[in-house]
Symmetry: none
Subunit: 218 residues, 2 copies
DNA sequence: CTAAATTATGAATATTTTGTGAAATATTTT
DNA sequence: AAAATATTTCACAAAATATTCATAATTTAG
C-alpha cells in the first residue's frame, strides 16, 4: 500500500511519514499539487494539504480524479468549514483538521483504504457504468449487452487506463497465452465493442502503428 | 429503500440527500424530532442529528422506537462522547461525527441496511416470495415445490443478488466440498429451477462465458 | 498529391457455449 | 427391498459468439 503525502511543509510530511511507516505503508512525497499529479499514478491513497504553492490541493484533486480513482484525504486548517463542504462535493473521502492527531489521521487512512477496497467494484464515467460484480455495463441506466470477449476487453482497458496496448499484448492477456490468431481479430472485437459503447465509442482510441488505448478525455 | 434525513440545517440535509440519490435511496426529510416522528413510518433507515430545535434526536428516537423498528444512525457533534455512549444504550445502530465524510456516512448506511436485511426472514418480489424460515417458496400464494438443491441454489442466488456467479463458484458453495462433477450439472439444476419459477424464470440471468446471476430488473 | 501502410468494417464461416430431454445413478422414504 | 425422489451424466440441438478475410476507408510519408 502506497501513500502519497502532499504538503509544502517538510516537517508535516515527516510526521505523517513516520506514522505511515509504523502502519506498514510505503510513502511517496510531493510538495505541491503539480508534483502530486505526476506521482498520483503510483499511489493507493493520497493525503493532501489544501493550501500549497504552485497548485492547491483542490485543483490537484480535480485533475487526479479524472485520471485515477484514488481515495483522498484532505488536510485543512482549523475551521475552514466551507472548504470542507466544497471538498466533499468534489468527492474527497475525508478531512483531517490541522493541527491533527496522527493517530486520528492513521485511523482515517485505514478506514478509507478499507472502504475503497470494497467500492472497487464499479467503474463510472458520466453515465457510463461498469458493474464488475454483475458483469454488466450500463449507459444511462440502460444495460448494454456485451459478448464475453467484448466485456473482457473493456475490463482490461479500464484496468489499464491511459496505457497504449499493442494487439499482441491484448491477444496474450485476453485470449489464451499462445494464441496463434490473426491480428485483425483484435480490430474486429474493438469495432464491435465500440459499436456497443455508442456515444462512448471514442473512449477507445486508436494508437496508430501500435494498438489501442482507453482514455478519459478532458 | 427510503432514508429519513433529520437535521435542522438544510445544507447538511442536501449534502446527504445528494449522496443518497447516488446510492439509489429515496429520501424523506424532517427538520426536527417532532417531524421525524410523523414521517418515521415511511422510512427504512433514519439518519438523525442529535441537537435540534423543538425536539432533540434522542427523544425522537425513543418515541419512534416504541412504535417502529427502524435502523437509526445518529449525527453527533465532534467529541460528544457521552452522547455516543448513551445512544448505543438506547439501541442506536451507529454514529457519525460531524463534520462527517458523506462517503463514510453512506458506507455506514449501507452497512446498517445490509445488517438489517440479513435479519430478514423472507424475500419478496411482486408475488414471488421465499420464506427462509419455512424453507418454502410461493408464487401467488401458491406453494412451489423445489428439491433441496434447487432451493439451496435459489437462496444462494438471492443472497448474492446482482453478482455474476461462475459454475465453479456455485459448485463450491452449494455442493459442499470440492465437487468433481460435470459443469453441465449446474445447467441442469438451473433449468429445473427456472422451470419451477414459472413466470419468474428470468430472474435467473445467464451471464455468457461466465455463469449465472440473480437480478431484479427495473 | 500519390503511394504505401495501417486500420475499419461487413459478411461468411467456424467455434464455443448453453438449453434441454432422457436415461442412468444415487439417495431417501415407506 | 421396493418405491419414490433427487441428482448426475450425456448427447445433441439451438443459440450466441469468435474468427477470418476481402474490401473500403483512413492516415502518413515522401
Amino acid at each position: 500500500m502506497k501513500v502519497l503525502i502532499v504538503d509544502d511543509e517538510k516537517l508535516i510530511r515527516d510526521v505523517i511519514k513516520e506514522y505511515c511507516f509504523e502502519s506498514k505503508y510505503e510513502v511517496i512525497e510531493a510538495e505541491n499539487g503539480l508534483e502530486a499529479i505526476n506521482k498520483a499514478g503510483e499511489a493507493d491513497v493520497i493525503i493532501m494539504d489544501i493550501m500549497m504553492p504552485k497548485m492547491d490541493g483542490f485543483s490537484a484533486y480535480k485533475i487526479i480524479k479524472e485520471k485515477y480513482n484514488i481515495p483522498t484525504i484532505m488536510l485543512s486548517a482549523r475551521g475552514e468549514e466551507y472548504d470542507k463542504l466544497a471538498g466533499f462535493d468534489l468527492g474527497i473521502d475525508d478531512y483531517v483538521t490541522k493541527p491533527f492527531s496522527p493517530k486520528e489521521l492513521m485511523a482515517r487512512i485505514n478506514a478509507v483504504v478499507k472502504r475503497y477496497k470494497k467500492e472497487e467494484e464499479v467503474f463510472v464515467y458520466e453515465d457510463f457504468k461498469v458493474d464488475f460484480l454483475g458483469h454488466s455495463v450500463y449507459i444511462n441506466d440502460k444495460e448494454i449487452c456485451l459478448t464475453p470477449k467484448e466485456y473482457d476487453l473493456l475490463v482490461y482497458f479500464i484496468n489499464n487506463k491511459g496505457i497504449a496496448l499493442s494487439r499482441e499484448q491484448l491477444l496474450n492477456n485476453i485470449w489464451n497465452y499462445d494464441y496463434l490468431g490473426n491480428d485483425r481479430t483484435v480490430d474486429t472485437h474493438i469495432k464491435m465493442l465500440r459499436n456497443n459503447l455508442g456515444k462512448y465509442r471514442n473512449l477507445i482510441i486508436t494508437v496508430r502503428g501500435m494498438g489501442y488505448k482507453f482514455e478519459i478525455k478532458n
